[in-house]
């Protein structure tokens, strides 16, 4: 049985070769993982990314190391380790 390499990022374990979309929502977040070598998974992640961007979500490509803040991205990056999609902010 094949084993996957993993690395600890913060207090969560991430799988090497995979990316994760975190969509912030009422459950905390909904995750979608994709394997960079699996085109179907990449396309599924890209579709979710584009759908949510169409709803004015803001996407942050996070570097995944403690203290690193990442950057805002407007196009899906299949090589990203982690992407956080947050609903648009409103003034209170």
């Amino acid at each position: 049985m094949a084993t996957m390499d993993t690395t600890v990022i913060g207090n969560q374990e991430a799988t090497v070769g995979k990316g994760t979309l975190h969509v912030l929502d009422s459950t905390g977040d909904t995750k979608l993982m994709w394997d960079r070598n699996n085109e179907d998974e990449v396309q599924a992640a890209r579709k979710m990314f584009d759908d949510l961007k169409g709803k004015h979500y803001i996407a942050y490509k996070a570097e995944g190391k403690e203290g690193k803040k990442g950057e805002v991205i407007n196009r899906f990056d299949p090589d990203a380790e982690r992407i956080i999609l947050a609903p648009r902010m409103v003034g209170g």
């Binding site: 207090n11 929502d25 905390g28 803040k69 990442g70 805002v72 003034g91």
Partner: protein
């Protein structure tokens, strides 16, 4: 039953209906609503005569009264089945509240775990112990409190809170909101400041 309207005129009318137009009155009969009503009437009125006593008709009359005069649904006597059904509804409601609270707790845990990925050890410690942490963005320093409204505070050089920035992501746990604010501050501070409502605190 006790809430039904039962004034003298109504009673007289009822008796009239029941006796073919001749108004007669009841002998006081204690121990039931019918008796109480008659007793009250007798004490304040002038007549005490015998009339038939039948609880079924009394209930029926009241139901008709409620329907025709008040236009409301019939208030029927509460049965054990009614009590059981009401208790079941209350239990289901309480259960729903408990389930929602549990979902919120789990969601907050998940959100906090995600937020922790972006904080330094010092920030993590402060957030867990005090419910807030500080972060430097360009030439400004902010304190982010766990919360959803007015929880971004701008600090002066001494660490005193000088402004509250009210800006949030709606429909997410507190720590998700803080994460979104944190990422926005560090990637596009101007966007956050433009969106926020500012309140001076001193």
């Amino acid at each position: 039953m006790a809430d039904y309207q039962c004034g003298n005129v109504i009673w007289a009318q009822w008796c009239g209906d029941q006796t073919g137009g001749v108004v007669t009155y009841c002998t006081p009969a204690t121990g039931d609503y019918w008796g109480y009503w008659n007793q009250g009437y007798a004490a304040s009125g002038s007549q005490t005569v015998t009339v038939k006593y039948e609880m079924g008709q009394w209930v029926e009359w009241n139901q008709m009264y409620v329907n025709s005069i008040q236009g409301q649904a019939v208030a029927h006597p509460v049965t054990p089945a009614d009590v059981q059904a009401q208790r079941a509804r209350q239990d289901a409601y309480q259960q729903q509240i408990r389930e929602n609270e549990e979902k919120k707790r789990i969601a907050e845990e998940k959100a906090e775990a995600l937020l922790m990925l972006y904080l330094t050890d010092e920030q993590k410690k402060s957030y867990k112990e005090h419910g807030h942490f500080e972060t430097q963005v360009n030439d400004r320093r902010y304190r982010l409190r766990k919360g959803s409204h007015g929880n971004v505070r701008e600090l002066d050089k001494t660490g005193k809170e000088v402004a509250s920035l009210c800006v949030n992501v709606q429909g997410v746990p507190y720590s998700d909101n803080v994460l979104a604010q944190f990422l926005a501050l560090h990637t596009d501070e101007d966007y956050l400041r433009r969106t926020a409502n500012h309140t001076r605190l001193c």
